[in-house]
């Protein structure tokens, strides 16, 4: 039982990752693929942050009266990851907009069907 509950957050991670990856591979719409990518990236957040939590601990802001804090390092890493994620998303969207203007569609198979 503890193998299930003890790793609950991991199961969420796995589920999100599979869903994100599935969207990326299976969809032909370029915009939808980007959303899949965003979900894939968010799946990582839980993988890092959940293990840093200590039950009974508090957010890592030092204050009197608390002695047990959750691990701050994953938070820092994921902050960076979020920022990188939104940067990638913005760039991807810009590309999609340009592709749409150049090809008149954002369906991958239709684009690949068009000759140059």
């Amino acid at each position: 039982m503890s193998a299930i509950t003890g790793h609950f957050s991991y199961w969420v991670t796995v589920f999100l990752m599979v869903a994100g990856l599935y969207i990326i591979i299976s969809r032909t719409n370029l915009l939808k693929k980007l959303i899949g990518l965003a979900i894939l990236q968010t799946s990582v957040y839980l993988l890092y942050i959940a293990p840093g939590k200590l039950i009974g601990g508090t957010a890592p802001i030092i204050a009197d009266g608390f002695s047990s804090y959750s691990n701050p390092l994953p938070h820092v890493l994921i902050l960076t990851a979020i920022v990188v994620g939104v940067a990638t998303l913005a760039l991807g969207l810009a590309l999609v907009v340009r592709i749409r203007e150049a090809y008149g569609t954002i369906e991958e198979d239709e684009i690949l069907g068009q000759e140059d």
Binding site: M17, I24, L30, K33, L47, P74, A81, T88, L95
Partner: protein, 494 residues
Amino acid sequence: MLEHLPALQVVLPLVAAPLIVLARHRGFAWLATTAVSYLCLVIAILLASRVMEGGAVSYAIGNWPPPWGIEYRVDALSSFVLVLVALTASFVAPYAHRSIAAEVPAERHYILYAMYCLCLAGLLGITITGDAFNVFVFLEISSLAMYVLIALGKRRKALVAAYQYMLMGTVGATFYVIGVGLLYLMTGTLNLADMAERLRAVEDVRPVLAALAFITVGIGLKLALFPLHQWLPNAYAYAPSMVTAFLAATATKVSVYVLLRFYFGVFDPSALFERLPMREVFIALSVAAMLSASLVAFYEQDVKRLFAWSSVAQIGYITLGIGLDNQASLTGSITHLLNHGVTKGAIFVLLGAVALRSGAISVSVASLSGLGRRMPLTAFGLVIAGLSLVGIPGTAGFISKWYLIVGALERGMWWVVAVIVGASIIAVGYVWRVVEAAYLHPAQGATPVRHEAPAGMLAAALGMVILCVYFGIETSFSVGAARDAALLLLGGAR
């Protein structure tokens, strides 16, 4: 000042980019880019000589001792890759001036140069850092810059190529983060050296194996490891010429470096290669890449795509050395990073010159006819670089293939030797198609007028061609440093 070289190596191009954006001036942008590229080369060479004399250099950023702070670590392997990246940059930057003018609208030039600086900073940062997460951050800097650079290509297909590369590259980077996350959960540290030490004490190997798988696939996507190479031919073919040259010579090579670093520096390589059939997998994938991509190249009509496929094959050679996993083969692999980087860089730089003069949006093999008359020096350069690609003795390509063959023989794998030779013969085939078109086919239309590329471009291009020969004859730096690096990876001295 000298002790700050590791930091300056990365910070200089990183600072140049916002300065260029602030100035918004084409001439300044080019000057700054070129100056920074040369400075980086000087720094890289100084660092390499320091490493050769006194062993690895460690630099604690923010003066926080590792593993709490981020450590920069220059050793035999990373200094070698730094030299490769900076060397290519210093040839491509002066060349860019004319090439870009012809291919990209003028108001985007300064952006392109800023992106180029960021990309350079990213690649150098990946190489020099000793911190697993810092690798990811700089990987993203270089990748985002790269996507933009590709998308600036002239044809609309460049956009799609950039999008595809972005999708696969980001999935790769995310996999890498997952892999690093697993390792972090098992060791509690992000510093690579510290991680390697603490990983030995880890009893449960399952997360480590999963991390290995994720990092392999993630970085494999980035370095176009067969069969994860789909993005590469399009990206190379549709990017602006100078971008292709820079990308082909450096980006995949730096990814290979990351893979080497993790395999031999973090995971315990002996346990790794004993427990899993990694060796067999790598050899099989490499062989498949070498043969299939070479064959595709042989039938390709577009010259840039032809050499892009040839890159997929050449990456096969490099990963083959990892799969063979002995000192000779690793020396071969690492030397090939440099030799192939220089060779491919030279080829794409020359093709850029051809594209500039032909004015067409793409260069097909047929359109090369009469090139020997029109642009004799360029055509001659292509022949030399092509020979180096094939691996004719006296050129750079020969040296690294020689070590790979020695490595295969040490393992007693005769059939691998046969594949190396076979793939080289196919390479003779596709290089010959180019040579044949350039020299033997009569030019279409009127008598060809001699019209070489501008002097600056030609000088840079021929400089790289000379390097192809230089590294084929004078091997004390390339092979010497690569051997040190291989020893380091296999746990020897230095």
